[in-house]
Symmetry: C2
Subunit: 437 residues, 2 copies
């Protein structure tokens, strides 16, 4: 299926909008290949505030407009991407696009949490989809997971660290002993917190996301006014100290849980989490959502919760979905091999540090003999050890372990083949990789 190019109307060319343009430029060919040529997209209209402002990511002047109505109505625009934020103009844009039968992609959690009921009704009425993967947890595909992968699951609970700014501040308070104000200032300097960080630190950014997740999982609209929300402004070093001493870490946690009577618990509060729980190791600006489904069991989805590229990644995935829905593409969803062949790296050329265990006859000179063979090939040794068996300290056959510097697996194997020929070596050496990750 070969198709003409689909036009994107991009409302908002800030950080994320620029990221979308860059991602489409960088990986447009890849997307075409992966979709068998079915999806080819280009920004044909972009809504900006100031036509003359210099931009890091340039667009042709004729693409720019300051009038959102023009953007939505433009015949070259097949899909509308809303990235301007807020709940007033953004609402108008999304509503107009849906009414015009143009699929919408948005990352606007406040809009959907506050006015989702109206927009979902419009989407249904006009049989036009609205996609919003970017609204929750940046680059983590948690929306698709709940909507599609867990569609056959009754969802018992979702526990999420879904505000990266709060998580960064809490981590700095924990590891560097900063107080709240200092950690917030640092987050602002690093660009992790907005100039007005209110929605981040008062818990409402996380609450908007939790409301969206709960709406998907349980299928009914939720009034934000009914949700209990507390932020991290109240957290003080003494709380962090206590948590640490008691084996906990402090996280801003969104909790969504279905009770046996069908009632849904939904709250955002600073929480003590046991240090051993996997959510406790979600640090910095990362996000994670633990989902417990009746069939899937416990799952965790972890990744970057914000930022230009991760959020753009989700917008682009939604764009492909939207494009497919326009094309009414049947069947395949980008998974078939799209190249006839590719190059597999020969295992000989793969490189890591290594752990090698030899079964040797224990006599003076063994280490020297093995080390000499390694040295001939320039393979560095970072450690060697032969555990002494206290019950028979003079045993003839012992295990001897070498930790080796990074080298190619081919060179290592060839060297080990020669070492295996040494009289003192009794069997094939055992090799494990030491992964850097």
């Amino acid at each position: 299926m070969k198709c003409s190019t689909l036009g994107i109307g991009l409302a908002g060319v800030g950080t994320v909008g620029s990221g979308v343009i860059l991602a489409l430029r960088r990986n447009g060919d890849l997307i075409r290949d992966r979709t068998g040529g079915a999806v080819d997209m280009q920004v044909t209209k972009a809504l900006v505030r100031d036509l003359s402002k210099p931009r890091a990511v340039a667009l042709p002047q004729e693409v720019l407009t300051t009038d959102w109505k023009e953007l939505v109505a433009d015949p070259s625009v097949d899909i509308v991407v809303e990235l301007i934020g807020g709940t007033t103009d953004a609402f108008e844009i999304v509503a107009a696009a849906l009414k015009a039968g143009k699929p919408v992609v948005t990352g606007n959690k406040a809009l959907l949490a506050e006015r989702g009921v109206e927009l979902f009704a419009l989407s249904k009425e006009h049989d036009t989809p609205i996609h919003f993967e970017a609204a929750v947890a940046g680059g983590i595909p948690i929306i698709k997971t709940v909507q599609e992968s867990f569609i056959g699951n009754r969802i018992h609970s979702m526990s999420g660290i879904i505000n990266g700014t709060s998580n960064y501040i809490l981590e700095r308070m924990t590891t560097a002993g900063l107080d709240f104000e200092t950690a917030l200032g640092e987050a602002q300097q690093l660009g992790y917190a907005e100039a007005d960080p209110a929605l981040d630190v008062n818990g409402w950014d996380a609450a908007h996301k939790a409301i969206l997740l709960a709406t998907l999982a349980y299928g009914f609209p939720i009034d934000p006014a009914m949700v209990h929300v507390a932020g991290i402004e109240q957290v003080r070093p003494i709380d962090i100290d206590f948590a640490t001493r008691l084996g906990y870490v402090v996280k801003l946690l969104a909790v969504v849980r279905e009770h046996p009577n069908g009632a849904v618990e939904l709250r955002v509060q600073p929480s003590f989490i046991p240090k051993s729980h996997i959510l406790a190791s979600v640090n910095g600006v990362f996000n994670a959502v633990a989902v417990h489904g009746d069939a899937a069991g416990e799952s965790l989805f972890y990744g970057r919760g914000a930022g230009q590229d991760p959020t753009a990644s989700s917008v682009v995935a939604d764009l492909v979905e939207a494009a497919r829905s326009l094309r009414q593409a049947t069947g395949h969803r980008g998974f078939l091999p799209y190249r006839e062949s590719g190059q597999l790296l020969p295992i000989e050329n793969t490189e890591t540090a290594s752990y090698v265990r030899f079964d040797v006859t224990d006599r003076p000179g063994v280490v020297a003999e093995i080390a000499t063979e390694l040295a001939k090939e320039g393979i560095g040794i970072s450690g060697t050890h032969s555990p002494v068996n206290p019950e028979s300290p003079d045993a003839d056959f012992v295990d001897m372990v070498f930790l080796l510097h990074t080298c190619s697996f081919g060179k290592l194997q060839a060297t080990l083949d020669r070492i295996e020929q040494l009289d003192c070596v009794n069997s094939s050496p055992v090799v494990f990789r030491i992964e850097k990750l």
Copy 2:
């Protein structure tokens, strides 16, 4: 959109097949609701070896057949689910279904890794989808993530713990000091390892999954004979000891990585992973895949890698996809609110243990006064502490912390309101949840 029931031809009614039947029975209504009535499914034909064998999950006798051709050809069968395993009969069934234009759902990693090229070609030729979320990492939606959520990402690497049996054995060797044979025996007794555990412990089960993931990410068919695979049979207690002492844990790791020249590194080997890395905390039969995309950055997907319900969860999600493709359902993908209203649990009724910080005037009797108010409401105290400031040990105003047993938030708030009225308490107490998770 109201539709008639779709018929499923279930080839294989073993552990996973029974799980699929149970999941559809348990959550069929939920799926109908979530898809706006578009997806309603029923098993109309089931392939078994022995018609008379008693089954834990009963099916009407007329649904059963021992002839796969009958199953595929039956006009009541709209979608074919292949769960018999192996690469011979399974191949015939899948190929016949695709040729008949019936979408296929399979969890057969060996089939797809060994003969995927042929089957993907048939799928394309007959424009009939083949879904295989259940083939990799049980209940973790890693296939959909790579196929759809990361479609706009160049995938730098994927590192996976994707064989639960190996991971369980390695964990038992690490935490209980067992040798390989004993740990394997234990895994077999617990039902985590097959009677013939060869494919699990020799690394090939993980390799089949890694091949599938790499094929999706890089789009070209991969010959299993070209992949370097080593299993965990060689791991001995001495290796575990060394890893522990050096700050590593031993895991069977599948590594998929694209090199700058386009070559793809693909291998499965026992590996030392730094203890601080999130993959190191993937224990027992859990699986996890760390994916690094050029836009999304680092992500991790964690969950149950096998078992009846988690694998059935993925099969059911694929069945919904397949059903949608048959219905050519446009737009919505199950995310719109499907109920007009639902019950939100009042925050007062939510229950956890709590951490409460009071700002008190430090004089004898303060603890008693607060404790008395708590006792009146039957709220237990598990600890209390007031840090002494060494610089002014007799300061008038101090922070006093209470750790409280689980009680309802409403009762806690009411009690705290009263405590706030005490003369010795100077401001509103600060409450954090202590989450159980």
